[in-house]
Every structure is written in C-alpha cells, then in structure tokens.
C-alpha cells in the first residue's frame, strides 16, 4: 500500500467540506459525487483503509479526473485532489501490473484498429495513415478526427539540429514534444521563427523523446522515468550550451519543470541533475516576455479580435497567465477580449476525452460557447492538446473561429 500510505495524511486532511464542488467540472456537469474531488478522495481513502477493493467503478472515478488541478487551488485545506488521483493511478498500476486504462484500452480500443490509431494519435504516436483512411466518421467521441492535423513528416526530420542567426544573443534548446512533432509541425516552425527573429540560436536535438507525461498520468512511472532520463541527459550532456530548455506545449513544460522533480524524488543521487535541468526549463511565452520581444517587426494588415484560453498546465501548473496575453496585445491591430472562465479546462485532459467523452464534450461545449460570446475571430492558447480540442469543438458547433498557438500569431505577424 506504499503509494497510498505516502499520501495518507493528505487523504485524511480532506474534511469533506465540499469546497471543490464548484471547482470540479466533472462534477458540475454530471452532478455525481463519484466525479468530484471530494468523492474521489474518499474513495481513494477507502482503498487505502482496505475498506474498498478497487473495481471498475473505482477505476472510472479515478480515470475520469481531468487532472486540471482546479480542486487544488480551491481547497481551503490545501488538499491537492489531482495529486491524490495521480497516486491512486500509480497504485492501480502497481496492483494490477498494467497501466489503468490498459484493460479498457485493450477491450474497447484494441478491438478497433481505427480507434487504436486514434489513441496513438492522441499521444502523438504512430499510426498516421490510419486516420486518413477513415470513412464516414467525422467525430470520434467528440474529437474532430477528420480535421485532426497530421505532419507529413516529423518536425524533427524537417529541420537541422542547429538553426543559427546572425548575431546570436541567446542559445535556446527547443524541446518540441510529441504534439508539435507529429501533428502541429507548423506551430513548431512558428516557434523557431519567433525565436530567430529575436536573435536566438535554436538547438533542436534529434534524439529527444516524449516527455513522459502521458505515462506518468496513468501510473506508468517506469516508462515516464526512462523518457525523462533521456530528455535530461540529452539536453544537459550533449547540448550543454543551450542556456534554456524551451517548450511551447504547456503540458510538456509543466512536466519538465515540476513533475520531473517528483518523479525522481526517490533517486537522491540523480536529483541534483534533475534540479539543474528543471531550472533551465521555460515555457515559450514566459521566455519571450523575459528576453523582451522585438516589436518593431511585428506587422498586421487587418484588424483582428483575439481571445485566449489558459491551458490547465499553464495556469495552474506553470502559473503563467499574463505573458501570453501581453504578447498577443503587442501585435498591431489586435483587439484582445477576455472570455468567461478562460482558465477552466477545455475538456481534452489526455485520454479522458476518449473514455469519458460525454462529460468531456459537455465541458468543451461550454468552452466553445464562452468563445462565441466574445465575438473573437481567433482563439489563441499555449497547449497543442487544447488547440486540437478547441478547434474540434468549434468546428462541431459550426462556429468560425480559428485556434492558434500564441507563437503562430506572432510568427504570422513577423511575416506580414
């Protein structure tokens, strides 16, 4: 019971006050006590106490959590529901020997190669061609698969390892991440464009791998660790001249910056190196704001109304909210409009969108409506997972807004 024993004091600190009821979207939209931080925590505690044997319903309660972290910021007792859920997922993995979802994955997904492709796509993995062959299916459980972008060639294969500039002021290590590598390669190019326009030499190691977040979220710490180790070693040993490790995916950045420390907490000999790495990690908007953006070359010919969605990992993970908004407003003729509940989860939440699609879809529908209410032409955000989810929701609702990464908007302004 090691994993749960480690978090037992926190489990026991939840005094069932219900403060997380408004925070937790999965509760708001289902009204089910199994789908709120309080309920999840009480269930985990029951398992820790030996009063409940994990079963399918328990797994559903644990797996349907968005890990959005809203409950953690709302809880007056400082209980972090998302972390407790992570512990429960880890516990499930250790108990069963296989990653939770693996069973349902096997049963529900392996049965269909199409869906398997979908699943891999979600993780930015392989199986690209499967998608293009899909007939008669536009939305898979609320996910807009027809418009799901696929990079013709991995971004990492499209660019050289070093992109030089004339008078380099900074040397930036670019951690690309699966989504930008396999799916939204255009956004990765945008990041490079913005960096080079601001006198940054960009270093893009070819042997970078997935940050390990998906595995970590579903309790597979072993794979997560091995990926993390490779990422750390690559950037620190082979490309030690990179001053920072920059990521334009809020989820990856928050994993690299915060979760790696937790992941290696039990390896004191390696931990100092992890710390060194974590200190180098910086998110795109945060970095651009820090080095000061070359504004004179930003152009924009037609007026544009833009709103911004705060990805969970950006607002609650990295706690970066002002910088992307400031960058957007630096672009000439951009009118910025704040949307209602900009900082609430978009509903993607890794595999939750595939396995608990009803609640996911409800969350996304709310978001889409909030976007519509701003009358914005464009939604900017900082997480590729959110970009895909939001664009899917918008298309499904028959709205017209385009979703772009902050870097995309800036890159475009540098081209204009």
């Amino acid at each position: 019971m090691g994993v749960l024993a480690d978090v037992y004091e926190m489990l026991n600190t939840c005094n069932k006050c219900g403060g997380c009821h408004t925070a937790c979207k999965t509760y708001k939209l289902t009204g089910l006590e199994t789908m709120v931080a309080r309920g999840r925590i009480q269930l985990i505690k029951a398992v820790a106490d030996g009063k409940l044997e994990p079963n399918q319903e328990y797994e559903d309660a644990i797996m349907s959590c968005l890990l959005c972290g809203e409950c953690a910021v709302t809880c007056p007792n400082g209980v972090h529901g998302n972390e407790l859920v992570m512990a429960a997922r880890r516990d499930l993995k250790l108990r069963k020997g296989i990653t939770p979802f693996a069973k349902s994955f096997a049963l529900k997904t392996l049965a269909s190669p199409k869906r398997l492709g979908m699943g891999f796509r979600l993780f930015g993995g392989v199986g690209k061609s499967v998608l293009n062959k899909l007939d008669g299916m536009d939305y898979f459980r609320g996910i807009d698969i027809r418009n799901f972008p696929t990079a013709k060639k991995q971004f990492l294969e499209q660019v050289p390892e070093r992109i030089k500039v004339q008078n380099p002021k900074h040397k930036v290590g670019f951690y690309v991440g699966c989504f930008l590598n396999y799916s939204l390669d255009q956004t990765a190019h945008s990041v490079v464009k913005v960096l080079t326009k601001n006198d940054c030499e960009v270093i893009i190691p070819k042997d970078q791998v997935c940050c390990g977040l998906p595995q970590y979220c579903y309790g597979d710490f072993e794979t997560a660790k091995s990926n993390a180790r490779q990422t750390i070693n690559t950037f620190l040993d082979k490309y030690s001249d990179a001053e920072v490790v920059l990521s334009a995916c809020a989820s990856c950045a928050s994993m690299l910056k915060h979760d790696y420390l937790k992941l290696f907490a039990d390896e004191p000999s390696y931990l100092p190196k992890v710390k060194l790495f974590c200190e180098k990690v910086v998110e795109f908007s945060e970095y651009m704001d820090k080095i000061g953006v070359n504004q004179s070359e930003l152009h924009n010919s037609s007026p544009l109304t833009v709103t911004y969605h705060d990805p969970c990992h950006m607002v609650r993970g990295l706690k970066v909210t002002k910088q992307p908004r400031q960058l957007l407003q630096m672009i000439p003729r951009v009118e910025y409009k704040e949307m209602f509940e900009a900082n609430r989860c978009c509903g993607a939440a890794g595999l939750v969108q595939a396995f608990f699609h009803e609640v996911s879809t409800d969350i996304t529908d709310q978001k889409t409506q909030n976007i519509k209410d701003t009358n914005a032409d464009l939604v900017a955000t900082s997480c590729p997972a959110c970009m895909l989810r939001l664009q899917g929701g918008i298309n499904k609702a028959g709205q017209k807004q385009k979703v772009m990464h902050v870097a995309d908007l800036m890159a475009k302004a540098y081209e204009d």
Binding site: N15, G19, T22, E33, Q42, L43, N55, A61, N77, G78
Partner: protein, 458 residues
Amino acid sequence: MLSQTVVKRLKEIVGEKNVVTDKVGLLTYGYDGTLLSGEALGVVSPTTTDQVVEIVKLMNEHDIKLVPRGAGTNESGGTIPSQEAIVISFTKMTKIHEIDTENFVAVVEPGVINFDLQVELAKQNFYFPPDPSSFKASTIGGNLGECSGGPKCFKYGVTRDYMLGLEVVLPNGKVIQTGGRNFQSEPGYDLTRIIVGSEGILGLVTKVFVRILPIPRAKKTMLALYDKVEDASQTVADIVAAGIIPTTLELMDNLLINTTEDFTHAGLPRDAGAVLIIEVDGYPEDMDEQVKTIGEIASKIAKEFKVAQTAVEVDQIWTSRRSAFGSVARVRPSYGVNDITVPRSNFPKAIGGVLKVAKDFGVTIGVVAHAGDGNLHPLILFDQRNKEETETVHKAEQALCMMALDLEGTISGEHGIGLVKKKYLDKEFTPAAMEAFRKIKRSFDPTNRFNPGKIIDL
C-alpha cells in the same frame, strides 16, 4: 440490497443513469460535512416532481425509507443514510424556473446551488440574502432543510425569512403547495415555516419560491483587529448596544486567522488575537456616517481599525472568512463544529465560556462566529484516529452546549440537529415540547419514512 424489481422500477422512473447501487457510488453518498458515514441501499436522482412522487410511492410499497440529500455539506449528520433507506439526491433538479424582479420572487428547484442562483440574480442586480459560507456548494434545498444562516443574517435574517412558498411531496406521495409568490401570509397554518428547518423529515421539497432583494447601492467593509478574542467580543456587544445593525459582524480568532491565511494570503496579521469583519450596506450617502460611528466604537478597544479600500481587498477578506471551516484540517485532520447561539448581549460571556471549556478539557478550539447573531462556531480540532482524544472532544462539546443553555441560548443556531446534536435536544426542550415535535412528525409521516432517526426518535 435492493431487490431486482425495485431497481428495475427505479430505473424506469428516473432512467438508468440516475440510479446508483454499486459499492463505489454508495460510498460517495454516505458522508456529509461531519465525521459520520453510512451506506444506503441505493441512490436515486430524480429530475421532476412527478418522478419524486413515483419514487415515494414505490418506496412505500416496499417499505423502504428515504434520505433526502442536497450537496451533503451539512454539519449535523443530516444526510447520513442507513441500510434501511435509499438516498434521494436533488443535485439534478437544478432549474431556475423564473426570476421575477418586479415582485421580488425567484422560483427554483431544490438542487440549485446557492452560488449559481446568486450569479443569475446578479445579472439583474438582485441577490438572495441567505449566504452560508458553503454557498458555492450547498443547495437551496439543503439551505432550507437546515434553515441556514450566513454572514448577512445579522441584518437580513436567515433562510426562513426568504421562503415564500414550497412545493412539497409528502410521505404518502401527495403533493402540496404551501404559501406562494405573495408576501402576505396565506390563510391557515404557516406550513412553509414548519417545513423549513425540518431537515427533510416531514416532506421532500421539489420547488421553492424565494424572496429576492435588489443589491444594495453601496457597501463598506471594515476590519478591526484585537489582541484578545475577549476584546473583540466587547466591541460586538458595544455595537449592538449602540443600536447599530451592520449587515455583517463576523469574528475569527487567532487560530482561524492563521489557517485561513495559509490558504488565502489575504494579509491578515497572524499575531492578532482576533479579527472582526464588519460590513454595512445601504445608500451611498449613509456610508461615511456609519463607518465613522463603528470606527469610533471599535477603536475604543481594537488595536487597529481599517476600512477596505479596493474590491480586491474586500474579496480577500471574504475568501478568508468563507474558508474558515474548510481550512482547519491544516492543523488537525478532524474537527467538531459547534453551533451554539446565545442572546447577543451574552456574547462576551459565551466567548469566555468557550475559552474555559478549551482550558478545562485541554482541547484546541478555534472560534469563528456570526457575532452579530450571537452564533458561535467553536471548532474543536483533533484526530479521529485517537480514541481517547475523541472521547474528550465529545465531553467538551457537551460542556459547550450546556454553557450555551445556561446563557439562555440554544445548541444549534443554523446547522440543524440531525444525528450529531440529537442527544442534546431534550436538554433544551421540556418533555412536553419534545412530545409536540413528535406529534408533528407523526402527523406528517406516521410510518417514519422520511429521514428516519434525524432530530428526534419516535
């Protein structure tokens, strides 16, 4: 276990998704804001009055009891189920039928969350005065079930004062409507007032006519800081004696200042013995005068008195106050909330009494109080896993109740009796009064079907 037939019928009535019978589901409907828990036979979430009626009839046929539940945040064990009952959860009856600003009435379903109603009302510049600190989670049905109070109650009264009428499903499955949208009292008994605060033992409320008010044009929020909690209680008595009625007069002691600071970082001084949060509202032109008078009274004893200057400051102060209950698990994992209430003029004596109980029993007590109402929530902090300590806490709680009764007060101001305070009820009421309660319960619910075992044993 529920029989297959009952489960099947329930699913026919409310739909497959709205019936829970698995262990995991049952576990999550077995607790509330207290340390108690239980396990029901099932959980059913109706979405219409007709469904509620059908459920009640079905349960009558099969001799199964019903425990009504809103958000399950009550502090009295009022929703703890047992193996003879199903939980009827109102969290899916969340429609706001109507907001009628001309007649100051809103018509809502019982599962509407207090906060959600406030948000809708605010769009039309109105509000619903009862605002328990749990308002972001608790439902209108639960608020009326417990007759909840809140920080605004000093001036505006409690939930009862805002209930114009109810639609109620009785234990025999018949539907009645009490009161209505009119402000004048209806002919006959005031059934609304009997149902409000009855903790779900008399009827299931399926529709609520609530009184709403326009948002006051102006308000001012003040803070008075004290070295000792006794000093703060004196200011409370002085303000009341001067005939001033602020909207809010809330007190938090040093322990609560610190636990809430850990959460909110609102900047309350951690070394202060106590803080009073004072708020006045009304017309803009009256504000300065009221603030001045209160400032003069408070400054006689307070070590510092200040008026919040910005909306952000006001917000932070309120977040602190509202998270008070919630935040104490930072100190010890378990807490017992007491809800004693004394006549306002006895408030300083009650504070003295709480300090004495803490000392006599050697327990940690944090105090938060709706001081203006004489309503105190001494929170006894402990660890439920320690049996001996838990015993002492029970004794200390009893001492607090007795102390309140000695000061002509009551054992419960706003949290209700439920299971937790049941054993003290006959200390407050005479046998004749207790019998009157029983008679009322029996006349509504002769076979003890609704929320059995709560408030009184038959």
